[in-house]
Symmetry: C2
Subunit: 344 residues, 2 copies
């Protein structure tokens, strides 16, 4: 920028900051542009990438709104989730995430200091995921018309020509692998809300998964992957079972769970299979490639604790069944109703 | 889809519809997918376009949040604005809009019938603009944590190799043209809110501008264009004057204004230069191409009333000056503070 940077004059966000005039430009330049450092101040980003020109490459495009409450919690905040969530949506589809947009809906009266922390956290997560936040928008609504800060991110990435991840590619015999412990994010939010008077502090698993996905896709034939966000691993597996028209069996004893999360679930009667994750995925690979997939996953920061949790089966098509630790079997259905509002 | 379509069982949106489970899938399939008809149900869209592979083509990427109140008003609703706004952001940058995403944040208790009307309106606007809504997201927040429906759309388009619209290309002597009357959207929202007990019904100008932009760019060298949304024509012109480092002169008598809008402004002491538009733009072309530009604009539905309103000048760099109808001159500054919250 050739202009001297405009500075916010207020400690809280006011309706004027959404008005399209000088105050809005001050907010945008001081709080967003100075941190995200996009190439221009036009209302749209102009992007070029050699990856796009690859014959056979596909563009991937996704969006997610984030309304998590509280805005800050152990292991992350709404900004970190807003970046990781969209990066991960792209990654589990086989895309290499390149660019993000970020649209903020802010309640009048929000502390500018809080907004700055959230924005700094977004930049940090974007750097970790090696993506750029290239364009954005800000709206301000009257006190009481929103709850703090909502962020919608959209992401654009490129699916390399040879990659084809799709839930309907999963076949009986394929092995299901998760990259780490389950339910941390859901438990973290529950504990952070304080309603339950839980004395444990559980950090969210919120993290970008694109490096892990990339390493794995370059090593083995990943049939399909899903990040286990809202609705947890149970919903991710059910979606795959339905799309692939095959059954899925998982082993309760194989499910990686943090002791604290297990404890929270036991106390509150929650099922960790339905707890949300923000940095945990499940992927399916051919059985003969499972060991190589585990090695590839474990070579990345987000995959250190990768472990096989089950497999696809020709039995009970479209159903997910868990072999319990007591030797029985139970159907793991999709989540019905809501488990925990505003988890992400 | 091979599956029988899932149907909503409720007349209002509940927290369960944001929970990531069965209720959410019913909402998504019944209300969104059945209308938008995206190619797949994966969490991301996979896109190919011959336009992308054009050597020298650039990708354009933009986002906007929409929080307009009321949700429905003469001439449009939040859905129509959410599509037109993002289409127009892309179009005024010289891009041909191709794909949109739509992320909904919905307050618990919203009528499903209202949501269906908004979604139908989005589909209609997308069809008119010849773009596709290819991916989306839904979050539900508790009653009182949002105000009805917020929609964030993002858009991806392609800038053809030969096109280069940029505010800094505007030069002294260039002519400023608007495509139609000013301030209709702002006046429409003001009247629709009912606070002012205005008896007029003014329809919003909300419309897609991509066909107009495309026709004009194919005919003349459009230097730069801006849609005159929040902050109105005054803010759009000030942004261009600053980026181009030149002055802009406009003629008050040349500004196209609907009689009703002029009346509302006189009664309420508002300046139509600052009223928001949702289907009105200003573009700059070299003087010798002005007539051809007017012809090209007038050949499109959105440009029938295109008219020259002023020109760029070497005098008073970075300042917008209006020759008033009384023969004087006044500086038209950027909007300070907010004129009307939640206009879009």
């Amino acid at each position: 920028m050739n202009q001297p940077m405009r500075r916010m004059k207020s400690d809280t966000v006011t309706l004027a900051h959404g008005g399209g005039g000088k105050a809005m430009r001050d907010l945008i330049e001081d709080v967003f542009v100075s941190v995200f450092e996009p190439d221009g101040m036009e209302d749209q980003a102009r992007l070029t990438s050699a990856a796009l020109a690859n014959s056979g490459a596909q563009l991937a495009f996704t969006t997610d709104g984030f309304v998590v409450s509280p805005l800050e919690f152990p292991g992350g905040d709404i900004g970190k989730i807003a970046v990781c969530g969209t990066v991960n949506d792209l990654a589990v589809g086989g895309a290499e995430p390149l660019w993000l947009s970020a649209a903020f809906i802010i309640e009048e009266g929000v502390d500018v200091a809080l907004l700055r922390r959230v924005v700094a956290s977004m930049r940090e997560a974007a750097d970790e995921a090696n993506v750029r936040i290239v364009t954005g928008d800000t709206k301000v609504v009257e006190r009481g018309s929103a709850d703090g800060i909502f962020i919608t991110t959209s992401g654009v990435g490129v699916i390399p020509p040879e990659r084809n991840l799709s839930a309907d590619r999963v076949q009986p015999g394929d092995v299901a692998i998760v990259n780490g412990v389950l339910g941390d994010h859901g438990a973290a939010i529950l504990a952070a809300r304080g309603d339950m008077a839980l004395s444990v502090e559980i950090p969210s698993d919120c993290q970008p998964l694109n490096a892990l996905m990339n390493a794995t896709c370059e090593t083995v034939d990943v049939r399909a992957a899903r990040d286990a966000t809202r609705g947890g691993l149970a919903s991710a597996l059910n979606e795959i079972a339905e799309a692939a028209d095959c059954g899925i069996e998982i082993e309760e004893t194989a499910l990686p769970l943090r002791t604290e999360v297990k404890g929270v679930c036991e106390i509150l009667g929650l099922d960790p299979l339905y707890l949300a994750n923000e940095g945990t995925l499940v992927l399916f690979v051919p059985e003969e490639e499972a060991e190589r997939a585990l090695d590839a996953m474990r070579s990345t920061a987000a995959g250190k604790e990768a472990v096989i949790v089950g497999r696809a089966t020709a039995a009970h098509p479209k159903r997910v069944v868990m072999q319990t630790s007591f030797g029985g079997a139970r159907i793991v259905d999709m989540l019905v109703g809501e488990q925990l509002p505003r988890i992400c």
